[in-house]
Symmetry: C2
């Protein structure tokens, strides 16, 4: 086989980093195997809208084999990487062992719990499509359960939704959840007094969105509060239990719902593979994205740790996309004997939505708030979604919500019995 | 409270029968409590398209509370009915006990396995939204697993999909699955030789669709065979195991997928409640839909057993809809002292799709086949779907499929590992 002689590039993970690396290697003189435990790519910036019953899971997912059809030199393997043999250049997966000439590690991150007691056991997450479905089912179940409860104190606890972490995900979900309650649920549950329900956002630092300019931070805070979100700044979580969150400097919050968006760290499995690990749980890489002493191994996206201008690069989709492309290009350079390029992140700006008609954006030194930022956010997210059909479905759902103040995906599927509401992410759903 | 004096009607089940009974009682001088274990109504005639990766689950489901908003005298309770106390007119549910003045039982049916060894344990079903998601995930996983298998015999077994039952559901799913494989999967899995895959339809009787005219039965058989479906008529299933189906009068079929659409019977739980049970597992009712000796209890839809023109009424959606409305009207008649009406089913015809551009319909003595029947089927199903948004989404997905020969919902969500493919419906998903 002529193709057998081509260098074999194995990419672990089909998130933003891995998928864009595969795209950059399509048609190049290499064989590529893309490995993921899921058969789809997730557009993770919209996960929170799945959790807020606004979008259906399949609106923001795309079958990987559908993307790879146009790339004859890229194979897909649905499997989980279990072990890496750096010396012999082999990856052991749940399906089979793969030999590689080049390896791109793009396995992303998981929630980080800072060893806070109970946090891991009693928190819901927003990192995967399953997480988002689980959060959605849980929230709707809380309302169905509250509708059946005669005891006001229990009802209030069940209707208190606590979000830990004032970064973009926590803020966007706080806004979306608050609107879900004030729009659809107020009409759905006439038997519930909605003053018993609250959305609480807890942030350990003294400000939301520390990476944004001061004006935008203040805007986010005042806008969330105007929507009725209770924001507690400078409140470090001390403990999480099945019925409450305990804070430093604040009264405990009786709640059965804790959504954790406070920290991320590299996928832990990877950190046992003998790679150089950074204190924040990533893999240290050279400016070329290579692992020191293993020039054939590249790490991109949330899993990689690289500083630029003295600060570690943020764990966001644009960094992963650019690093995936850069690693692919460096592999092609290495094969053809050209010099490798140092990775430089081009920050095109950041943006956050805060519910209907409102958002904030920081682009090249300019700050936008309100309606213009919201429209910009909508357009950019539609543009970056994969697939024309997904764009139509997302637009239909957004228009529906916007015109009718209505969230469509309020079905509890797969079923969770009201008497068995999962209180931790380890519960079945 | 003035409303307390109004008669209380409890409806168990929010399928076609229960939901249409609730609608008919909206605004009438009664209090209504609609009880369902799910918080949504399922448009079950399209379940097979969810199982064929054509529609998303939420496209054919609608939140019950969204429907009931316009009916102030109808409450919703998400719970499962556990026990009926006919004497004291009480229903015990997982949430609370309900007193009733009138009761409408609309709890539907479950798959019937005729005590065939292994059938219950090793078959997938197509009765609920969860069933359909489970079948979809299972089928995609079979292909992902086959893509990793070097052994041709195992691969062939994993790629053989056996559907038991030649009624409308079995036939429609055989056609849809066959098209899923020949369109999307052939492009998705270039590493699989699709001649190793087959869809097998097994029917115990000597004809498909016994309730249809002879010409349509022959059309269905020849059309399915022309699509590559292997149809075995007069083949009674003797046993089902995790690796095969054993038939009378035919060689065993090596398969790991058995989709059971051969029989339905009334929800078994109900049959322990002291109601008069028919041999086919329904509740015998009077022509007024009342239970003999319990004039305040009505049974509608698949759960009821009533003969018309010497034959039991079929277990189909139109019967349930008409019976739900009729039971509601008889309750209002009873309250106002008017005579009750005998239920007479108005058969407006039956139709079945057979994949792209093809269907069959029997309407008032006229038979249609091919493209006209297919278009009629599409239009009627769109018209009967609940919700404008669901119609748009279903149309978008159908148009996508039709124009691009592509099934969009090919994601395995919730995740099933390829090494843990559920082989029976009792497995987690």
């Amino acid at each position: 086989m002529e193709t057998k002689k081509r260098p074999h590039v194995v990419i672990l993970g089909a998130g933003f980093g891995g998928l864009h690396a595969a795209k950059a290697l399509a048609g190049a003189p290499v064989r590529v195997t893309l490995v993921d435990r899921n058969n789809y790519h997730t557009f993770s910036p919209l996960l929170y809208q799945v959790a807020a019953a606004e979008l259906e899971a399949s609106d923001i997912a795309y079958p990987l084999r559908g993307i790879l059809r146009k790339m004859p030199n890229v194979d897909f393997l649905m499997a989980q990487a279990e072990h890496l043999d750096l010396k012999n250049k082999k990856v052991v997966t749940t399906a089979r062992t793969l030999d590689y000439d080049f390896l791109i590690l793009a396995l992303g991150s998981v929630s980080g719990f800072f060893d806070i007691p109970g946090a891991r056991e009693h928190s819901l997450r927003l990192k995967t499509l399953e997480d988002a479905i689980r959060v959605r089912n849980h929230i709707i179940c809380c309302f169905e359960r509250a509708a059946q409860l005669p005891d006001a104190e229990s009802r209030k606890r069940i209707l208190t939704f606590t979000i830990v972490g004032g970064g973009p995900t926590g803020i966007e979900y706080a806004g979306a959840l608050s609107e879900l309650i004030s729009s659809s649920f107020t009409k759905d549950f006439p038997e519930i007094d909605m003053s018993e329900s609250s959305v609480v956002l807890v942030e350990a630092q003294n400000s939301l969105l520390p990476q944004f300019p001061h004006r935008l931070r203040r805007y986010a805070l005042s806008h969330l509060r105007s929507m009725g979100v209770k924001v507690h700044l400078g409140s470090r979580v001390r403990q999480v239990t099945g019925t409450g969150v305990f804070l430093e400097n604040h009264d405990p919050i009786p709640t059965e719902t804790v959504i954790w968006s406070a920290g991320v760290r590299g996928t832990p499995r990877v950190l046992t593979w003998g790679l150089p690990v950074s204190p924040r749980g990533g893999v240290n890489v050279l400016p070329t994205l290579q692992v020191p002493e293993h020039p054939e191994v590249y790490v991109v996206g949330d899993l990689s740790h690289l500083a630029q201008d003295g600060r570690p690069l943020p764990m966001v989709a644009p960094v992963a996309v650019q690093q995936g492309k850069a690693a692919a290009q460096n592999i092609l350079n290495a094969i053809s004997g050209k010099p490798l390029q140092r990775f430089i992140y081009k920050d095109r700006g950041s943006m956050v939505t805060l519910g209907r008609n409102s958002g904030l954006a920081s682009v090249k030194g300019f700050s936008f708030t309100g309606f213009p930022a919201w429209v910009l956010w909508l357009l950019l997210h539609l543009a970056y979604l994969i697939g024309f059909r997904n764009r139509i479905l997302v637009m239909t759902n957004w228009a529906w919500d916007y015109i009718l103040f209505e969230r469509a995906v309020r079905m509890i599927v797969p079923k969770v019995s009201v008497d068995q509401i999962p209180r931790s992410s380890s519960a079945p759903f």
